[in-house]
Symmetry: C2
Subunit: 365 residues, 2 copies
């Protein structure tokens, strides 16, 4: 793992490790934390659901497991800071981790539907948002506070949103939110609150720092010394994005036909329908083959065979979604003060060494 | 109106006319037709619903109006060819109309929910798509055939999809599909089939030319002499887009602070959250004020005050949606053989004449 910070723990897998599995193994799954991981006694743990509900309820883990039909959803989580390094290469973003291609991973999550649990409590008609609170205190928050988030009631009552206690067929590990985490497929990872302890049905979004003060996209020219809670765009559904995982940036490859592969991901309600790859700065593009998507909530792996001439070559990709929208080209366009949602075209630069075939003047395309 | 073709009738309002009303008057609403408008006797007209349903049903207009609760939905329709002229300026697209900024309009539609009508028929469990057939024969189709389309059953059963007989409080005019048209908010206009006569519940998309052979985005390098039905990406939900309506392209304006306004539209399940305007080629951007959106299904009008220096000045805008996705910059990126979904950054070029204030050396910013 590439460890950005030990405490709180922030780490991502290298490209090669991420590329190996459509379903990311637990020990390769990225970790994004704002505070020290809480060690929760699963016997003592209770989930409390309150706010604008008919019956405030409380569940132990066995009660949650026994009173609701468990379902499994395979879903990709993607940190809003994924690929921030590409923005920082354009203009620095002090105080933020330079996440690369790997602040995203995919797992099989199993748990109760949040909608079933909310239905058991009887949601009030005036509910617009459902808020999650966790015990992990984030010193970076202003003021320091436990992590929290909220999602719209429409999303909260959608069948894909889980209170998960299993990950890839095993009990959820502490590092990923044991005993129970929220999993909000198609949304930025920050909304899938780990170690969830309290859920509140509200008529307004969460007032937590990570809903009101962070995970918001501010215009590039914002004076960040003068921002207020609520400024900028609160992030929810994930924007269309993609990365190249093979070859890795800086790799040496034989010149000639080269295998290029990666992931593309379109959040909530969109799918990836096409990925193009260029090795000549966009003059020509090769259409990649798209792997099957296990569920509508996961990334899509893609692969292409492209011609790489000898020398230093930049390989660039771009993905298209089901509305025929394409990723924006430049990091300059999407740069923002906190460095969220870098969905500009991904590139890796390789050095291609001449081969015996090439020495005779013919590189097969 | 700017008339691209008299027969079949294809026309769009000029920018200034479109800018005047958030709800577009009927006589300004764009018209996009593939065949001669049918004159239908409303007394004789029947809507037939069949396919994979428990009861195939047939409704006269009064039956439709009396048996289902009428609802009103304010929704923007946008032709997939809207803004094609911007693509053609980059590379010609023979045989297609050079639509400008005006192949999009907004109206108050009133009618029965398609979902209610389908529920009355009893949708089969195996239904994946709902197809619409109209009587207007399109000579351009291969082979020539009446217009048709389909949408997914999920969209067809969503509450915003109507069988509409009223437009802006008046009976639907022939030019917009009388006696009844489909209105599919958030989707390209081609799916809102006018003069609908038959609806079929199916386990596959419509095989109509306009679903399988047109309204599909092909890669730029496609050999269009060798395409087959089903190639490319079938269009449904509208991609994030925007236009500048004020000033008009080619206008003369006084140098100095200038009012710039236009529309932005994010299709199905997305909203426009920000619009930026630049007059210096993107070095600096001014954030526009966003008008209220009458419903989630309409465009969003925006307005900004920007500084225009004397001379020939290009004014460019870009919109952002609720995932923090931004429009792609260049028409070159999105150019495709049929010229659909030009959602690259819109621009107008104005000539700014020096003012008395400017003659004294100070243009207020």
């Amino acid at each position: 793992m590439i460890v950005h910070e030990q405490e709180p723990y922030n780490a991502e897998p290298p490209r090669a490790a991420l590329a190996e599995h459509l379903i990311t193994p637990v020990d390769v799954f990225y970790g994004r934390n704002h505070g020290t991981m809480p060690e929760i006694d699963p016997q003592a743990w209770r989930l409390r659901i309150g706010g604008l509900v008919e019956h405030a309820l409380e569940f132990s883990l066995p009660e949650l497991q026994q009173q609701f039909t468990p379902v499994e959803v395979t879903a990709t989580l993607q940190c809003a800071g994924n690929r921030r390094a590409g923005l920082m290469a354009f203009r620095d973003i002090p105080g933020q981790h330079p996440w690369g291609a790997g602040a995203t991973s995919t797992a099989r999550w199993r748990g109760a539907r949040l909608s079933d649990v909310l239905a058991a409590c009887g949601l009030g008609r005036q509910v617009t948002d459902v808020a999650f609170d966790a015990p992990d205190v984030a010193p970076e928050a202003d003021p320091p506070q436990p992590f929290g988030a909220s999602i719209s009631v429409d999303k909260a009552t959608a069948p894909e949103v889980l209170l998960a206690w299993e990950m890839n067929g095993e009990p959820l590990p502490t590092a990923h939110g044991a005993p129970v985490r929220v999993v909000v497929p198609g949304y930025i990872g920050a909304r899938s609150v780990k170690w969830v302890g309290r859920i509140a049905a509200q008529d307004h979004p969460s007032e937590n720092f990570f809903q009101q003060g962070a995970y918001r996209v501010l215009p590039a020219d914002t004076d960040t010394a003068r921002t207020h809670p609520g400024d900028g765009v609160a992030l929810g559904p994930v924007a269309l994005n993609s990365e190249i995982l093979t070859p890795d940036d800086g790799d040496e490859v034989p010149a000639g036909p080269t295998h290029v592969a990666g992931y593309a991901f379109a959040g909530d309600d969109r799918t990836v329908v096409r990925v193009d790859v260029t090795t000549d700065g966009g003059a020509t593009w090769v259409q990649a083959d798209l792997d099957a998507q296990p569920t509508p909530w996961t990334w899509r792996f893609w692969r292409a065979r492209v011609y790489v001439p000898p020398g230093r070559v930049e390989i660039t990709a771009r993905a298209w979604d089901s509305t025929a929208a394409v990723q924006p080209e430049h990091p300059a366009t999407v740069w923002n003060p906190k460095g969220y949602i870098n969905n500009s075209w991904p590139s890796v630069t390789v050095t291609a060494t001449p081969t015996a075939a090439g020495a005779h003047g013919s590189y097969p395309r």
